[in-house]
Symmetry: C2
Subunit: 411 residues, 2 copies
Amino acid sequence: MQSEGSDAILPVARPPHLGTPPNLPLDMAVTKRPLLLTPGPVTIPEEVRQATARPLLYHRGPEFKHVVRRVRDGLKYLYQTREEVIVLASSGTGAMEGAVVNLCSRGDRVLVVRGGKFGERWEKIARAYGLDVVPLDVPWGEAVDPERVRRALAEQGPFRAVLLQASETSTGVAHPVREVADLTRRTDTLCVVDGITAVGVFPIPFDEWGIDCLVTGSQKALMLPPGLAFAGLSARAWQAAARADLPRFYFDFARERDCLAQDTTAWTPAISLIEGLDLVLERIREEGLDALFRRHRLAATAMRAGVRALGLSLFTGSPSDALTAIEIPDPPGASAVVKRFRDAHGMTIAGGQDQLKGRIIRLSHMGDVDRYHVVRAMTALESVMDELGFRPADGAGVAAVVASYARGATE
Amino acid sequence: MQSEGSDAILPVARPPHLGTPPNLPLDMAVTKRPLLLTPGPVTIPEEVRQATARPLLYHRGPEFKHVVRRVRDGLKYLYQTREEVIVLASSGTGAMEGAVVNLCSRGDRVLVVRGGKFGERWEKIARAYGLDVVPLDVPWGEAVDPERVRRALAEQGPFRAVLLQASETSTGVAHPVREVADLTRRTDTLCVVDGITAVGVFPIPFDEWGIDCLVTGSQKALMLPPGLAFAGLSARAWQAAARADLPRFYFDFARERDCLAQDTTAWTPAISLIEGLDLVLERIREEGLDALFRRHRLAATAMRAGVRALGLSLFTGSPSDALTAIEIPDPPGASAVVKRFRDAHGMTIAGGQDQLKGRIIRLSHMGDVDRYHVVRAMTALESVMDELGFRPADGAGVAAVVASYARGATE
């Protein structure tokens, strides 16, 4: 399933800037679009892209019902749940809003773990619907201490829900979802988790951990184009949804669940993306969740080993296996690194957002990744840091990556 | 740009039911998926499908900004407006909800033209947000009389908005948008139009007619997969949006407008579909709106001529050029016709919805359509009606289609 954006540009007339990145060194191929090392979207495997390009099925016809049937099963496998996982035509933010409007009522108090841009997004959504938000501030780059959650639940409640990220994409931090769910499951508070860069990367067994709502998106570990979002709800979350009075229509989860039970969707689904999803979920089942999580863990471990070998600092001590956030000294500064990756190496990486702008870079290792993905990214990082005068490229980074893989190191 | 789903199935492992429709006659090719004659999704041209399958661009990178820039211009051309047309990752229903929540405040009174399933959808959305809905009931199959709208506005107002369809997909009716906008533009009432099967089919010059909000979707005349929706707002609609207090986050139009001004989107966009959109809008500009509308008018006129020549009745005297709704006597009944189209001819058509279930069939002529599309559809219709014992196939239907095109008939 390896594919690294290596397809020549199709012969559709395009302005020249859409083809070859400018200023590529002479030793690099020039028929490529910039390779994505961004923490979403990630590179889409060739066969998945082609699956999304097939002649459309009619979404109310019998063939598509078979697709939906398989997708339902595949999503339950991925989520490790017996509950229905609903499928939305939206970005992940739509599913986050859906979680709030389906589970909460006017004036409900919610606890928001606010340790990055996406924690802040939970807060903004909740405030847009007039909820009583209690923020639990965590320095960007740190994971929330479950003890602080416990105290907040005990002292500032009652809360309808705790809203947090499993993987905070803006900082590369993994929050302790299991420990938080251990607290909420013994109370009436729902544990609502943004798993957008977590589901399919590392274990979040939905039923076993007692999570109440877990949302994700298509363009991360599911290695699809953006445009699909997902939400799994626990039995008690479905009960809460039946009582919740916030207004909703397009993101009405119960309506979607009832339609899914008949292998269809409430509104016209993103048919082409769901065809790709069908294939991806089949591949994930073939690989198996244990192997899938181990593959991501190997990649993340190797990436971190390479970064350390280059003398760079990891931004967080509680890293998500989805991406690696790296502190970049100034000079050269993170923005110059991002620019050099793209202009001289034909790869797109992400910088920092908001307060981290200019301070960090973020490299993804989600989806269709293996040692060659990590070696490639590390080769570029080492070359860029040399070209920008930080440190001569001597292969220390890639050596550490290869050695980490050879040891099967998973920290 | 002709493509009729004629691509062989890609060699991805699929259950046999996903390939060839069962029971195809021996004279028909068997490598095809069912051809879509449904009023959305429509058949996607090959080059558009391939454009959606290209390696992804990063949505925050400079190449994608160029794509968004072109798409903005193309949408303004399509809408015939100088205002921004926002792009959402959702189905058309999401844009309808967006229109309501961005333009209305709690308790606002709205007039809903209720003459089909999608008129009822306006009502359901408005009620979900607690609006004071005054329905204006129109028998399914009839267009609203503007005089009734005038009286309702005068006697039952004040109304924040009139909500109607330009083309009511469930009945095949075109409502008199121009006349309704002529009424509203002289008042404080906003004219909010569902143009999902209208934009790109027949003229709805947004600025000239004084429409306030016009929504559409990707899988109709824009001949893309579903997953994108659009909304244009007039200057006074943007003012209303600044005052409207219904809660919104994912569908916050003002936020999207501000992002578009910088050639980006608020949330992760459906990148692959937008690449297809870029190509489609380029093709529409090449063809020109006059030619585009005339091509649809020719197809609709020819389809109606063929239906009459077969001795069948059109369901409505106020037809939309997007689709033709045909009354089917019982026997054979509309459901048998739909089934026979698919099982014996490899084509998917739509039956009636709700109160029209079993009474009508609906054939689309939106998007990538020409005389060969209409001849093909009519050949199938004539054959099916013969096979089901209604009338011997003698070529009267296709003859009428060919003659209609030869005369350049546009009624």
